[in-house]
């Protein structure tokens, strides 16, 4: 690596992958509970497993983003990190807070956790994805502020590029929008309205800026294409992202008590949301085709291309599938939503994080790329996980279509639980595919332990 302080990225990447394993294990528990309803009941009820599954995902993606930023910013800014010590301190605070939160979820009933952590003083808990105790949320704010202070000071004293500017805008946006997790009106319509300012404006807004800049950085490194060309693409992609994504929030405002003009606005703008993802696919393939060097890290290039394709399929195509309001009227809150969620998160954010880890980790370990054997194992991990998520998505989509038909469209609509039993075959197939995903993840992790006799880092 070019700057000593980039080394602080390493613990972030390791913790991210460890939490990824936890996420998948709890995903398998939930998947089994879908078909064996009493599995681990009442010790780990479904809602607890789900909190661990989704919160571990969010935290590990944030850990990965932070690691990516600590690696990327010094190199782009051509200067050492403002304070590596602060970065390491924040790592431990974040990790311990996340760990304690998960222990809290698993060991005490949620209502008692709320009472223990002072939710009465500032009630923020119990809303999807924002289940963390209020004190954990405050801790996240502190960590985020220290992190942003550290990075902003670094960029201010160094070179300003499109890549580090866009990354900083994305990260500041992430932190500012998170403040809406403290907004919890009694009025359910307003509660839901502003809840989406965190959830939607994160994943279909500012996170895409982070994704774009990570992808741009890795593509500059592995292809050697002119920075000028890549930065232009980056601005075009993020323009398309925010022009479509901000008003695209409207696709969540169809059925929650908000005015009905949102059906038109949400349908139009969210129908355009696949465009930035398509541009990202074109971008990744174009840059790799125009490469001026053969970077020894083939695995990182594969992950970068995979991000382009899978983000487009998961976020773009599967999002479009149910985003028009007349369609969403039938699919809202069904397994179709779950199908989209799985492929979109994997394709966009999981793969972007792994792209960065795949590129940076060998360098952090003192070599330009891993050995051929290690890269082959990593690519096996890539294909096993990616193919698994495609099939998980297809099975959930099948379950969702049947669910919509049985419960909402047929002449004699069935109750929810009866419809669920009717589609259980697809839940079983999803669960077994999930096991293959876990195997893929373990193969990926194993690749880190295959001795690397690759070329020394430049």
């Amino acid at each position: 690596m070019q700057y000593q302080s980039q080394a602080v990225a390493k613990p972030y990447f390791i913790a991210a992958i460890a939490l990824f394993v936890a996420q998948i294990l709890f995903g398998l528990i939930m998947g089994l509970q879908y078909v064996v309803g009493d599995f681990l009941f009442p010790y780990i009820p479904f809602n607890v497993a789900r909190m661990v599954h989704t919160n571990a995902l969010i935290v590990w993606l944030l850990m990965g983003f932070m690691g990516a930023a600590y690696y990327l910013i010094p190199e782009e800014s051509e200067t050492e990190l403002y304070s590596p010590k602060l970065a390491l301190a924040m790592f431990w605070i974040f990790l311990v807070a996340a760990g304690l939160t998960v222990v809290g979820y698993l060991t005490v009933p949620y209502a008692r956790l709320a009472a223990m952590t002072g939710n009465d003083l500032l009630p923020t808990m119990g809303r999807e994805f924002l289940e963390q105790p209020t004190i954990t949320k405050l801790g996240i704010v502190v960590v985020a502020l220290a992190f942003l202070f550290n990075l902003t000071m670094t960029v201010l004293k160094g070179r300003k590029t499109a890549v580090n500017t866009v990354l900083l805008i994305g990260l500041w946006g992430l932190a500012v929008l998170f403040l809406f997790s403290f907004v919890n009106p009694h009025n359910v319509v307003r509660d839901k309205f502003y809840w989406w300012w965190v959830v939607h404006l994160w994943v279909e807004g500012v996170w895409e800026l982070i994704l774009g800049s990570i992808l741009a950085f890795v593509l500059i490194k592995v292809t050697g294409v002119d920075r000028e060309v890549i930065e232009k693409w980056l601005y075009v992609i993020i323009t398309l992202t925010l022009v479509t994504g901000i008003l695209g929030t409207g696709h969540h405002y169809y059925w929650i008590g908000t005015p009905e003009y949102w059906q038109l606005i949400g349908s139009i703008f969210s129908a355009l949301e696949p465009i930035p993802f398509f541009a990202m696919t074109l971008f990744a393939f174009n840059m790799v085709n125009r490469r001026r060097r053969e970077h020894p890290n083939k695995a990182a290039t594969l992950w970068a291309l995979g991000t382009g394709v899978m983000a487009f399929l998961g976020a773009g195509v599967w999002g479009f599938l149910h985003t028009l309001s007349p369609v969403n009227y039938y699919t809202h809150g069904t397994q179709i939503t779950a199908a989209h969620g799985h492929m979109a998160f994997y394709g966009a954010y999981v793969m972007a994080n792994i792209t960065m880890i795949s590129y940076a980790m060998p360098i952090l370990r003192g070599r330009a790329a891993n050995s051929n054997r290690s890269q082959v194992a990593e690519m096996w991990g890539f294909w096993l996980m990616t193919i698994s998520i495609v099939f998980i998505t297809l099975f959930l989509t099948a379950a969702g279509i049947l669910q919509v038909w049985l419960q909402r469209v047929s002449d004699s609509p069935l109750p929810f639980m009866v419809a669920q039993e009717n589609v259980s075959l697809f839940y079983w197939m999803r669960e077994w595919t999930g096991v293959i995903f876990l195997i893929g993840l373990l193969v990926y992790i194993w690749s880190f332990f295959i001795p690397g006799e690759g070329k020394a880092a430049a």
Binding site: V36, N47, A111, E128, G333
Partner: protein, 144 residues
């Protein structure tokens, strides 16, 4: 991309476009805040039971299994219209009370939360309030 279209042009379009759509979004937010009192049944929040019920809903993580107006987990039934589906607030309370503590062998079961009668009244009042919100005729039928 052509030479005339430079990186700084792209950057300016990014800042301008983002700012423009952000302002449109804020304007629509303002408009939404102005118009929802006619749809969101906020007058029912004057009843302290409804507000207390929302807190019980949150602190027991009901959204971790159920959906409410289609948002949440997809493991258990939609509850935005549950008062209408089961017929009354009494029926909702009776259902919550009747959950076996050890679950149902082989099947999904709601945990037994051991709510007091007052808490049950509050939850039911909250769910009744949600069922009155104007949701543009969603869900498509009573099954949610």
């Amino acid at each position: 991309m052509s030479e005339a279209f430079t990186t700084s042009t792209a950057r300016n379009i990014f800042y301008g476009g983002t700012l423009f759509f952000l302002l449109v979004f804020l304007a629509l937010t303002y408009q939404t805040e102005q118009s929802i009192p006619a749809r969101d049944k906020r007058e029912m929040l004057a009843d302290a039971k409804v507000v207390a019920g929302k807190k019980i809903w949150e602190t027991n993580n009901c959204i971790g299994c159920h959906t409410l107006l289609g948002e949440g987990a997809y493991f258990a039934p939609e509850l935005g219209n549950v008062v209408k589906r089961l017929g009354s607030e009494e029926a909702v309370k009776a259902f919550i009370k009747s959950r076996p503590p050890e679950g149902v062998p082989g099947r999904r079961s709601m945990p037994q939360f051991n709510f007091t009668d007052q808490q049950l009244d509050e939850i039911a009042a909250f769910l009744k309030y949600v069922s009155e919100i104007n949701t543009a005729k969603w869900p498509p039928n009573i099954q949610g």
